[in-house]
């Protein structure tokens, strides 16, 4: 039995009951904080303060949600809309600019193609966060601090996206297809729209999901530029909910739960694509 197991690559070795037990444990640990967020979000103060703390959901969700949405100076409703605007704008723009640039790098002949692509890859290694002080000053000059523009503009196109699209387009679209369309008299932009875009829908889905998740969850820069304004994103609003001298856990976690729900839905709907995107990204 054991010698048969050993003669195989791990990929061909069936999981044992221990594998499944281990994975189940990992899954429970992964899910527990999100589950417990929901438990506290539905509980009363007494349930939160009891010992042991509440482990099954209560019936106070509506009460807690009402408090979150009506809390002064937190602008929770607006913050959700703001997060949606920012995440959608950044995602749409990233998909457009990255696929356009990826198409040029993968299929078009122009001087400096390789050098420019190398620079794109090089910029992947620059930790942007370290420039936040100067970025804040730049936004001040532009008059954008405290507005959603300050959060949207830096994310409009990413080096990773350009790189990912270039790799995908390079494999997915035969050169002859582009040449044939050109012989038919189509301009580059038309080829992009009628040949490239339909062929790269799976890659657009993957990059779109990764971008949306990252943008929705971004905390540091939105906190710096939007804190104290009337236009927070939901992450900034969460930090406001948790600040102050007397913090109400059930209210904080009710807010956190609301801000998490859209992403759990995304994971349920697009989990396959997300897994694929992360795993493909690792190989390049």
């Amino acid at each position: 039995m054991s010698s048969r197991l050993l003669s195989r690559a791990p990929q061909d070795t069936p999981g044992t009951w221990k594998s499944y037990l281990g994975l189940t444990a990992i899954l429970l640990v992964s899910a527990f904080p999100v589950y417990w967020m929901f438990v506290i979000a539905t509980s009363s103060d007494e349930a939160v303060m009891s010992s042991p703390p509440a482990l099954i959901p209560g019936d106070q969700l509506m009460v807690n949600l009402r408090e979150v949405f009506t809390m002064q100076d937190v602008y929770f409703t607006a913050s959700l809309i703001n997060s949606l605007i920012v995440a959608l704008a950044v995602t749409a723009s990233t998909l457009f600019f990255c696929s356009l640039a990826g198409f040029a790098f993968a299929k078009l002949r122009f001087k400096g193609n390789n050098v420019l692509m190398f620079i794109v890859i090089l910029t992947l290694t620059v930790p942007n966060q370290l420039g936040v002080v100067a970025l804040f000053i730049v936004m001040n000059e532009l008059g954008w601090n405290g507005t959603l523009l300050a959060v949207i503009a830096p994310g409009l196109v990413t080096a990773f996206g350009v790189f990912y699209m270039r790799q995908f387009i390079g494999h997915a679209i035969p050169d002859e297809l582009v040449e044939a369309a050109r012989i038919d008299g189509a301009l580059t932009l038309r080829i992009y729209w009628t040949v490239v875009v339909p062929a790269i829908r799976p890659a657009l889905a993957v990059l779109g999901l990764l971008t949306f998740v990252a943008t929705w969850n971004d905390f540091q820069w939105p906190l710096i530029t939007l804190n104290g304004t009337d236009y927070p994103t939901s992450m900034v609003a969460l930090s406001d909910l948790a600040s102050g001298n007397y913090v109400v856990y059930r209210r904080v976690l009710a807010g956190a739960f609301v801000a998490t729900v859209p992403l759990v839905i995304l994971l349920l709907a697009g989990g396959r694509q997300l897994v694929r995107g992360i795993m493909e990204g690792a190989l390049k």
């Binding site: 070795t13 904080p33 640039a101 370290l130 002080v133 000053i137 540091q220 939901s234």
Partner: protein
């Protein structure tokens, strides 16, 4: 085959109108200039919001740059850096950052490796497991940090309740935020929870690219699964290990959200009442946007940048040696 597809798709158009050749100048513009316009948005936006701030940061760090109290603003040479060298707040934050970084990176990558090794087997519901371990990755780090902040509270926190189940801390509950180590551990738990699944998928991806015959050759020598993992799998996926080490170095040394929201009053960016878990990124935020001293915050950013470069370099070398040496 691709060619015929195109012809089929276009058969109807020419009947009504023969394909129009674009005018010469238009064709020239389209093939010579237009590609540059397609890649330009990336370079323009990166120049404005990525590269320029990073370089301009150096200028700011050589100036006194106060946001409101502007009278003293101006060139100060290396004053910000000499101040930094003797600033105990900075060095304390550096120690905290490294402590939390090690507690969060080492278990994170080791556990991810174990999970990937299990996921690499032939499993029922492979996709289900893979999606499941991504839940922490999509959960907003602000939201999960707040859950853990409640989880690790001294009174009625779930962490202490679990500890009491195994007979620990019954006479006096552990005050996670009070101690240096306990607060570091609590924050490291948040980071580990968030990134283990993501890294496991990266490792899994690399493991699945290993040719099967590599294992079959080794099986003749009677390698146990454990030896198989360390002697074959890990060396084979070494480039991805290197990638995750560098990625978690860059991310770990800039840790911000978790320590921020672990505070009982995050707005103050204290990192504990004795700053026992305040990280450098948090200190930069405090100096820049509470004290409004942007020049000094910029100097700290540069210092952090250099530290990250050095540590990432060391880690890269160490990882390369670990994987390739034997």
């Amino acid at each position: 085959m691709a060619l015929t597809d195109v012809r089929v798709a276009h058969t109807e158009e020419p009947k009504h109108a023969p394909p129009k050749r674009p005018k010469f100048w238009l064709h020239r513009f389209d093939t010579k200039t237009f590609p540059y316009l397609m890649v330009a948005p990336f370079f323009v936006l990166f120049a404005i919001f990525g590269l320029f701030p990073l370089l301009f940061n150096a200028v700011v760090s050589l100036r006194h740059w106060h946001l409101i109290d502007k009278e003293k603003n101006g060139w100060v040479g290396l004053d910000n850096f000499t101040k930094l060298a003797s600033d105990t707040d900075f060095w304390d934050a550096l120690v905290n950052t490294f402590g939390i970084f090690i507690l969060s990176t080492v278990p994170q990558l080791l556990i991810a490796l174990m999970i990937a090794n299990v996921l690499n087997r032939k499993l029922r519901g492979a996709t289900f497991w893979r999606i499941g371990i991504l839940l922490p990755y999509v959960t907003p780090v602000a939201a999960s940090s707040l859950v853990f902040a409640v989880f690790f509270s001294r009174d009625n926190g779930l962490a202490n309740w679990f500890l009491s189940l195994v007979g620990f801390g019954q006479e006096q509950p552990l005050d996670w935020r009070a101690g240096t180590w306990s607060s570091w551990i609590a924050i490291a738990v948040m980071v580990n929870w968030k990134w283990i699944g993501y890294n496991a998928l990266l490792y899994l991806s690399a493991m699945q690219a290993i040719p099967k015959d590599v294992y079959e050759a080794a099986a003749v020598d009677g390698a146990s699964p454990w030896r198989q993992l360390w002697k074959i799998t890990v060396p084979m996926i070494q480039p991805v290990v290197l990638f995750t080490v560098i990625l978690s170095t860059i991310g770990g040394l800039q840790l911000f959200t978790e320590p921020m929201l672990f505070d009982e009053n995050p707005a103050q960016a204290n990192g504990g009442y004795d700053h026992q878990w305040r990280t450098i990124a948090q200190l930069i935020y405090r100096v820049g946007w509470s004290d409004l001293n942007l020049g000094y915050a910029a100097a700290m950013s540069w210092a952090l940048f250099l530290i990250i470069l050095i540590v990432a370099g060391i880690n890269a070398l160490a990882t390369r040696r670990l994987g390739g040496g034997k």
